[in-house]
């Protein structure tokens, strides 16, 4: 059975178990007594039986599927001839890919080597056996679980409490997933980054001024020594983010002020959702827009002024990224401004201040922590933004502050290093994880600082 049909069968079995459990509970009361003598309503007995039927089997199925590929690959490698087993890991990986291709029936016209076709046959046989074993194991566990519970159903069984604790376990597990994800991110990035730092010292990486992630295939190759100094990437990221913030902060802040303080309800109700559309547009669309429309315009305009403008200028990417971030800044500032109590404004008006004076000297200072927090979150978003820069910024790692030149960013390099075929032990690939680590740490710090600013400096009213 395929895993999908196996799961469907298990779910069908478990619905049947629900029905049997319910009936069994009602039958256990006997004809002479009312069903209210049951500790729990019969539905809970049914649910409990369905859980006992499906859950253990599903746990087995998911663990099995998670580790199946690992174990079978290991078995296939062990069955390979000695000479092939002794290959270096990356060659072995390629060989295993061939085995998988042959096993799936893709011979690409040629006749595979006998060792590989033997391994492919072995591979298919192992998978077939594994599928049979899994089906047998899962179905028998399901039936056994249901039968075991059915036997225990009687008037005294605290079915509701059992079901409720099962639900509680699910709820706790769901919320623990957030921690598991964070730990997963940290570990996966740290682990690969540590391997990278074995070949490139962390200080060279963080403070090196040259980035050219080429590693040699042969020893004597020209330009074989890769340079992994990430400063040009950091500078490029900061340059583009800075341009984005120069666009987004004034426009976002001023529109938030206007919408919160001046606009009629009608204008507010139309303009605010319209601005928020900008946040809902997928970033790949902005990237396309930047590369197709904005970059040529800027280039043409710059050339008409006699300036040398790269077709992948930092300005184009930063400008478009700024547009994307406008609604982000404006909605967070809007929240902060509307949270300022009306009494403060009334006090300022009472002293004779105009509306703009009230806003500038009373409302904004009071809302400042929220606004600063919002801007910091926007910066962290700009730094982590990927698609716009991948499509509109360049690949050349220039260390420059000129917004008309092409620069590259951390995210662009992660994408270029990891898209396509990779071998998992070259510093070139692992460098992407080191960059990912830097990205994760920086955005995390920015978020923590933003939250801290909001909490620490927030004016408490009442």
């Amino acid at each position: 059975m395929t895993p999908f049909s196996l799961i469907v069968t298990l779910l069908a079995l478990s619905s049947a178990a629900y029905w049997f459990g319910r009936r069994r509970a009602i039958a256990s009361v006997g004809p002479s007594r009312p069903t209210s003598v049951l500790h729990s309503r019969p539905t809970y007995h049914g649910t409990l039986m369905a859980l006992w039927c499906a859950l253990p089997a599903l746990v087995v199925v998911s663990l099995w599927l998670l580790f199946e590929a690992h174990i079978i690959t290991g078995l296939v490698v062990n069955a390979l001839p000695e000479s092939l087993q002794a290959l270096p890991p990356e060659r072995l990986g390629l060989l295993l890919n061939d085995v998988r291709n042959v096993a799936a029936g893709n011979t690409f016209g040629g006749t595979p080597e006998p060792a590989i076709s033997a391994a492919a046959v072995h591979y298919n046989a192992l998978y077939a056996r594994s599928a049979d074993m899994l089906t047998g194991a899962a179905l028998s566990i399901a039936v056994l679980g249901a039968l075991w519970l059915r036997q225990r159903i009687d008037v005294q069984l605290r079915a509701r409490n059992h079901v409720e604790s099962a639900i509680t376990i699910f709820l706790v597990a769901s919320s623990l997933l957030a921690i598991v994800t964070t730990v997963g991110i940290v570990l996966s990035v740290l682990f690969e980054a540590a391997r990278f730092f074995e070949s490139v010292p962390p200080l060279d990486f963080l403070f090196g001024l040259e980035w050219s992630p080429q590693t040699a295939i042969r020893e004597d190759q020209v330009g074989s020594t890769g340079a992994f100094g990430a400063v040009p990437l950091f500078a490029g990221t900061l340059l583009i983010s800075f341009i984005a913030m120069v666009v987004a902060v004034p426009i976002g802040l001023m529109s938030a002020i206007y919408l919160a303080e001046y606009a009629t309800p009608r204008l507010r109700n139309t303009a605010k959702p319209l601005l928020e559309i900008l946040a809902g547009v997928p970033t790949v669309v902005y990237g396309f827009f930047a590369a197709l429309v904005v970059a040529p315009q800027i280039r043409g305009f710059g050339q008409s002024l006699g300036l040398e403008v790269s077709s992948e200028s930092a300005l184009a990417a930063g400008l478009v990224m700024g547009v994307m971030i406008i609604p982000f800044v404006s909605s967070l500032s809007d929240d902060a401004i509307t949270a300022v109590p009306q009494g403060l404004r009334d006090g300022a008006y009472g002293l004779g201040a105009t509306r703009s004076e009230t806003i500038r000297q009373v409302v904004i200072p009071a809302a400042l922590p929220g606004i600063v927090g919002g801007v910091l979150l926007a910066v962290s978003r700009a730094i982590g933004e990927t698609m716009i820069v991948v499509m509109a910024a360049g690949l050349s790692a220039n260390l420059t502050a000129n917004p008309l030149q092409a620069v590259t960013t951390v995210t662009v390099q992660i994408v270029t290093l990891l898209v396509g075929d990779q071998e998992f032990d070259s510093p070139k690939t692992l460098a992407a994880f080191a960059l990912g680590l830097v990205l994760f740490v920086v955005t995390l710090l920015l978020n923590v600082i933003a939250l801290h600013v909001v909490r620490r400096y927030r004016e408490q009213y009442e």
Binding site: H70, I185, S188, V189, I257, I277, V281, V284, G384
Partner: protein, 441 residues
């Protein structure tokens, strides 16, 4: 103004009141001007923001709407028995192996009998798409009784001809600067005189997978990939997100550990999406050895990415259910779990669904983490399940945006239009749900 108040001479010169003094009038004028300016700046910023939106939309729609039509050329095709199925076997295998490319070429030669030289002939054949032969083959295989008949078939034109017909090729340019030379122009003009070249609705765009030929490429494969991915994401993230929200909001004791979970959720919401891609690559692909380019893995990564959104929205929804409802349920003897599941949860459900739909819309438009897990591949076949190699709609946009052909610019924009229509649809659904079921307590 405070300085003028403290000035004793001021009162002597202006016996009535310094409020009416000339200096004060100047000051007031200045203050009002700055008020006007400030206001105009606010209005201007909104206008700039909306202008960006308008430019973005018009440039995408202006570039993309023409891709929904495709130029077709009418061919007089002679499905000659002698060439396709000489033994009249009617066997699809024999028909499938026949030379349909030759059929297309013969029809083109018959349409322009005066084209003689080999080079010109080759240029002539390039008027129609290389997909024309496949189209004829599919026709003959579907309906073997066509063999032996002559009929007019509309086949897709080559993408350069399509661009010419849509007006993207400037005829006034010197021949050497144009993608289409004068001879071809003359042929196309002759075809349009005969009424043998027309624009039809581009069905291929919605039924085909990716292709190197713009006129044969479509978004069906990418759409299905996105659909499978979103299904995986929805099935996983909705129950887990709601479960986590219920625990954090209703059950979690107020202690360090619960705070830690909360901090984690809030931080994950702000982690760049590409980092989730790195996680997917390291954990799902390298450790668990799940297949590359599979919507299943994409769905798992997007689940982790959208979970914080769903958790935060669901908690807000639960928070808005008034405590009196919980107390009433507990008061008539419900257990805490019954109270949550049978009273608080149904009342919070509309808000949770809205949050989930918004999370799904974000997942639909996301592409950066998918690049990391190999969903950026040239996939011609439409995927049949969550384990087949596939791309997603935004990734397809990214792939086409990189293609040099002019016709792909238009198709990229068209794919974006489809993506935006889907996003508007999902968001409208969320707004509708909120309007219909939202309760004010």
């Amino acid at each position: 103004m405070s300085s003028s108040e403290g000035d004793p001479h001021q009162a002597a010169e202006h016996p009535r009141s310094h409020w009416e003094s000339a200096e004060f009038a100047v000051l007031m004028k200045k203050r009002h001007r700055s008020e006007q300016l400030f206001r105009a700046m606010g209005l201007g910023s909104i206008a700039v923001g909306l202008a960006f939106l308008a430019i973005l939309m018009t440039s995408i729609i202006g570039n993309g709407y023409s891709a929904f039509w495709q130029t077709h050329i009418a061919l007089e095709v002679d499905f000659a028995q002698s060439r396709l199925d000489p033994d009249a076997s009617g066997d699809p295998e024999v028909i499938g192996k026949a030379n349909f490319g030759g059929l297309v070429k013969r029809s083109m030669r018959a349409a322009f009998p005066d084209v003689k030289s080999r080079r010109d002939k080759r240029a002539l054949y390039k008027l129609v798409s290389s997909g024309a032969a496949f189209q004829l083959r599919a026709m003959a295989m579907d309906e073997p009784r066509l063999i032996g008949q002559k009929l007019t078939v509309w086949v897709p034109a080559d993408d350069d001809i399509d661009m010419l017909m849509k007006g993207y090729v400037d005829r006034k340019l010197p021949e050497s600067d144009r993608r289409i030379n004068n001879k071809t122009l003359a042929w196309v003009d002759k075809l349009s005189e005969r009424g043998a070249i027309e624009k039809h609705f581009n069905i291929t765009f919605f039924t085909a997978g990716d292709s190197r030929e713009p006129e044969l490429s479509g978004i069906h494969g990418a759409l299905m990939g996105s659909l499978y991915m979103l299904m995986v994401t929805l099935v996983l993230s909705f129950p887990i997100g709601v479960g986590a929200a219920i625990y954090l909001e209703e059950f979690a004791p107020r202690n360090r550990f619960s705070d830690f979970i909360e901090v984690n959720v809030n931080n994950l919401a702000a982690v760049p999406s590409i980092v989730f891609g790195l996680l997917g690559l390291a954990v799902f692909l390298n450790f668990f050895q799940l297949p590359r380019s599979a919507p299943l893995v994409g769905g798992l990564v997007l689940t982790l990415m959208t979970l914080p959104t769903i958790i935060i929205a669901s908690r807000a929804a639960l928070k808005s259910v008034p405590p009196s409802i919980r107390e009433a349920a507990l008061g008539i003897g419900a257990s805490k779990m019954q109270m949550v599941m049978q009273h608080a949860l149904p009342l919070a459900m509309p808000g949770m669904l809205t949050g989930t739909i918004i999370g799904m819309a974000r997942a639909l438009g996301e592409s950066a983490p998918l690049l990391m897990i190999g969903m950026v591949a040239f996939v011609v076949d439409v995927p049949d399940g969550p384990l087949d190699p596939a791309t997603a709609l935004p990734v397809q946009v990214y792939l086409w945006a990189d293609s040099p052909e002019r016709a792909f610019v238009e198709r990229t924009s068209a794919a974006i239009i489809v993506l935006l229509v889907l996003l508007v649809g999902t968001n409208a659904l969320a707004v509708f749900l909120r309007r219909k079921f939202e309760r004010r307590w």
